[in-house]
Symmetry: none
Subunit: 209 residues, 2 copies
């Protein structure tokens, strides 16, 4: 009998997952919890074959939970489910030891396939994530994106993130507006982003702001 634990703060999501899984594994024993706390407690106390967890949950995040689990039970497979289509986190999650990274939009079959693979002790990687992995192979991705910026770029990055206008920055740094704009373009390119807002959000998330 397969024992699956589901952690997600949204009731409906838990229901949906359970439903999808039960259709494929009618005899599975499935339990659920609403946050990372419960997840960790359950993992410590009982034995499971697969953990399926959301990334964004109240309190301790899914990422932290994942790290905890991997620390104590490196062989317990964890499938991470994310609400955001962005595969930004995917690589980090996988590096942290997750057996797969899935999106909530993805088809149920995808989930089922992932669980099957994971039960065999294998990893489940979607094609789009595989692409990213290959792209990032030779780069050492210990580094955060902003760590690749040059000195000048980083300065401009901080100022733009905090909402300064390009012309203000130009004045402040005694540069031409176009120069600052060029830096901005290089920053966005290097960080693989498109808007200033993304920079702001990034800065907040990484406690740079």
């Amino acid at each position: 009998m397969i024992r699956i634990f589901i952690a997600d703060d949204h009731m409906v999501v838990r229901r949906g997952l359970k439903q999808i899984l039960l259709e494929e594994f009618p005899s599975a024993h499935i339990e659920e919890g609403a946050d990372a706390e419960i997840l960790l407690k359950k993992v410590m106390k009982e034995e499971w074959d697969v953990i399926i967890t959301d990334l964004s949950m109240p309190g301790r995040s899914g990422m932290e939970a994942l790290q905890q689990i991997k620390l104590h039970y490196p062989k317990l497979p964890v499938l991470v489910l994310s609400g955001h289509p962005e595969e930004q986190y995917a690589i980090r999650v996988l590096k942290a030891g997750a057996s797969g990274y899935l999106n909530k939009e993805s088809a149920p079959e995808e989930l089922v396939k992932a669980v099957h693979r994971v039960l065999l002790g294998k990893k489940y990687i979607t094609p789009s994530i595989a692409d990213q992995l290959i792209l990032g192979l030779d780069k050492d991705n210990e580094k955060l994106p902003h760590e690749y910026l040059s000195d000048r770029e980083f300065e401009v990055f901080k100022l733009i993130s905090s909402g300064k206008s390009v012309s203000d920055i130009a004045t402040q740094m005694s540069l031409s507006v176009t120069t600052v704009s060029t830096y901005r373009a290089r920053i966005l390119e290097k960080m693989n982003m498109k808007t200033n807002a993304q920079l702001t959000i990034y800065s907040i998330e990484n406690k740079l702001l």
Copy 2:
């Protein structure tokens, strides 16, 4: 036989909702769609007893869909489901004609109760939202800055916060760029801010993003 239409971009959520509803209304006819487009098409073409829709969906937002529906079928009850725990949007959504505002975290029983009430042509208001409504009644009870924004302003506010460009917003809302820019100016004025980045930061802090 009850006819329910579910609109949500996350497959798992649709599954969960369907499951919960079928347990209570085994004979219900339930269909689903992944975005506002499909929702609107379905509403136009067929008859439904209840619509359950998410707020944040790709493309046209749930809010817009709600307004469209209410314009053409004022009596068709729409239950709005939101991923954000904060009831920030609740009041706006209800004002726009929704019959209820639910959170994805809420218990299935809550959803079921809501559907029951809504089928009777009544509104479903959770206690916490009721509180907010009462608070809003007498004067400006410590309202948050963004609550002073008008509907249009609020829409633009969200889009700007998330990093959309003024011209993109104009296209999306079928308005002139200058109009959107005017809204932006009014938003900044009302919220006593100066830059888009501040709006982004505010949105993150207040869990609107």
